[in-house]
């Protein structure tokens, strides 16, 4: 809270804060705030940062995230923070100790299904988001039923064959859906080799496209997060009507 206030002081040109947001800040400084903000309070803060026009589109957004590891958990965090209103989270796995080097989970989540752990975390940021979870492994058989209602699809799997299966399935069965995928983000190579490409009509691919995990070059928080942020930002652009990379 302190930092936020200081930041405001250092940016005198910034548009004056709305009275509503100021009131909340003052209450929190005085330790009088309740633990849960109201839907209106959160909405006002998001509109303050993003503008009401932009927020309207984000709040109406539907995104399905397939895979809740280093990519998916970071994508989900980013989209939840900016108030993307409808998130569908898909993963079959539980949180493992080796996930903590890059995925947005905590020790208390070890052994929990990632769908349950991540949903609980996202609701701490914004309890009014509509979050649907499916704790299931995506297969060629269940792909159509899992994704038929999807808005934008985010491929965030770890396994290369699962990535290829999902991308082929979505492009083949749902050619009109926007699909944002990622490949190549292991290690600590240059940040600047991670990029977003617009490969087919509705298909966007993020990553360096070549670096897979290996000894001494594993998946690490910084570079995986860069790639996840590429995905999240492309999804944000698509939600806001920007189709170019």
């Amino acid at each position: 809270m302190r930092e936020e206030i200081d930041e405001e002081k250092e940016v005198p040109d910034q548009k004056e804060m709305s009275q509503e947001v100021n009131d909340i800040k003052e209450k929190m400084m005085e330790g009088q705030t309740t633990k849960t903000l109201t839907k209106e309070e959160i909405q006002a803060a998001l509109e303050e940062r993003h503008s009401p026009e932009i927020q309207k589109k984000l709040s109406a957004g539907h995104v399905t995230i397939a895979g809740l590891g280093g990519l998916g958990s970071n994508v989900a965090y980013a989209l939840a923070r900016i108030g993307v209103g409808h998130l569908h989270l898909i993963d079959f796995d539980v949180v493992d100790i080796t996930n903590l080097n890059r995925q947005q989970y905590f020790m208390e989540h070890l052994g929990m299904y990632k769908t349950d752990a991540l949903k609980s975390l996202l609701l701490k940021i914004n309890p009014y988001l509509d979050i649907r979870t499916d704790c299931v492994k995506v297969t060629e058989e269940n792909l159509i039923s899992l994704f038929e209602d999807a808005g934008i699809v985010c491929e965030a799997f770890d396994n290369p064959e699962a990535k290829a299966m999902l991308v082929n399935g979505i492009l083949q069965h749902f050619p009109k859906k926007k699909l944002v995928s990622a490949t190549g983000m292991a290690g600590y190579g240059s940040s600047n080799t991670i990029r977003t490409e617009h490969l087919m009509k509705n298909f966007y691919l993020c990553g360096d496209r070549v670096t897979e995990p290996g000894y001494g070059n594993g998946l690490m928080a910084p570079r995986v997060a860069i790639c996840a942020a590429h995905e999240a930002n492309m999804i944000t652009r698509l939600l806001l009507g920007e189709e170019e990379i």
Binding site: G72, T183, V224
Partner: protein
Amino acid sequence: MITVNGKEIQMKQSISVAAYLENAGYQMKRIAVELNGDILPKYEYSDTMLKDGDRLEVVTFVGGG
């Protein structure tokens, strides 16, 4: 002549997409293929013959996420 991932390739004889991909060393379970702007479903790889002027894009997925 066909174009694969932006590079022009001379074809000595007409071959299927499946044969081309196998000869080029692609791992079939880790790729997505676009032919002339549209996704090519995997079940069509064997029956689709490459012809002069075709544009093929092969996306290879590596592990990590």
